[in-house]
């Protein structure tokens, strides 16, 4: 039963964040890049204020899978770096923590582009 409630929360929070994004799209005609940047910054700010962890306790993947999780990782790494390593840590910490997402996306992007071709839409 606990697992079911866990997933329900993940679904609700993750879906809720996306609904918020859809509202932005519908009412302001924003494009993908702007939406991604906004939610990324929301993640950074939540982490910097220390709120992110408590949301994560409850919502788990609901908040870490959206790009807000990527933002929080960046901020978390920077804070950790600043505490342990001073100036250098403050500057490299964020990128270090988020490097899984970055390196993964770059690598898979490069590979797919080598292998696959884009298809035209609408032709079944």
């Amino acid at each position: 039963m606990n697992v079911f409630i866990d997933y329900l929360l993940v679904f609700a929070v993750g879906g809720g964040i996306c609904v918020l994004g859809q509202l932005f799209i519908n009412y302001t005609k924003m494009t993908s890049a702007r939406i991604l940047v906004i939610f990324l910054l929301i993640g950074v700010v939540l982490e910097a204020c220390g709120v992110f962890e408590s949301i994560k306790e409850v919502a788990q993947a609901g908040i870490t899978v959206p790009i807000t999780g990527f933002g929080s990782n960046l901020a978390k790494g920077a804070i950790k770096g600043a505490r342990e390593n001073g100036v250098l840590g403050a500057i490299v910490g964020g990128t270090k923590a988020a490097s899984a997402g970055l390196a993964g996306a770059i690598f898979i992007g490069f590979l797919s582009a080598l292998v696959a071709k884009p298809k035209s839409k609408g032709v079944k």
Binding site: C18, G62, I79
Partner: protein, 149 residues
């Protein structure tokens, strides 16, 4: 001929009258459903990893989950499936980390014909670039602020 500001406003209103309305409820529901599903898949991957590799720290598990989600997206994009998910789900498929990965993979694929260096490599971040620049800049700012705290 260019209209002045006042006339432009009037014309914009006229467009609103004839334009088909965005179906708000339907797009919002679809975004909710798609976003929720993708997050649940992420949660599932995370838990399965926890069972299979119990020695991983929580942080590493998160890293592996991100990598796997990005990997799935890469495959779905390469096979031409993700754009259909995107057309259905809207923001529901843009905001999760999979949307970020899709924006990189789709750009890389699109520019394949211009060659590896000037096509794939230099165009990969046309959409995702702002995310990386803003994200890293913000993290450095946060880091510096915390130096003085």
């Amino acid at each position: 001929m260019i209209l002045n500001k006042e006339e432009q406003k009037v014309y914009k209103k006229e467009i609103k009258d004839v334009a088909p309305k965005t179906k708000h409820i339907s797009t919002l529901l679809r975004a909710f459903f798609t976003g929720g599903t993708i997050c649940c898949i992420g949660q599932g991957v995370n838990q399965v990893l926890g069972i299979l590799l119990p020695s991983l720290t929580e942080e590493d598990r998160g890293g592996y989950t991100t990598l796997l989600m990005i990997f799935f997206t890469g495959i779905l994009t390469a096979f031409g499936v993700y754009d259909h998910i995107g057309n259905f789900g809207g923001a529901g498929s843009i905001i999760p980390i999979t949307g970020f990965a899709n924006s990189i993979v789709s750009q890389a694929m699109e520019h394949k014909r211009e060659g590896i260096i000037f096509g794939i490599c230099s165009n990969m971040f046309a959409i995702a670039g702002p995310v990386i620049v803003m994200g890293i800049t913000a993290s450095v700012v946060v880091g510096i602020v915390y130096l003085f705290l």
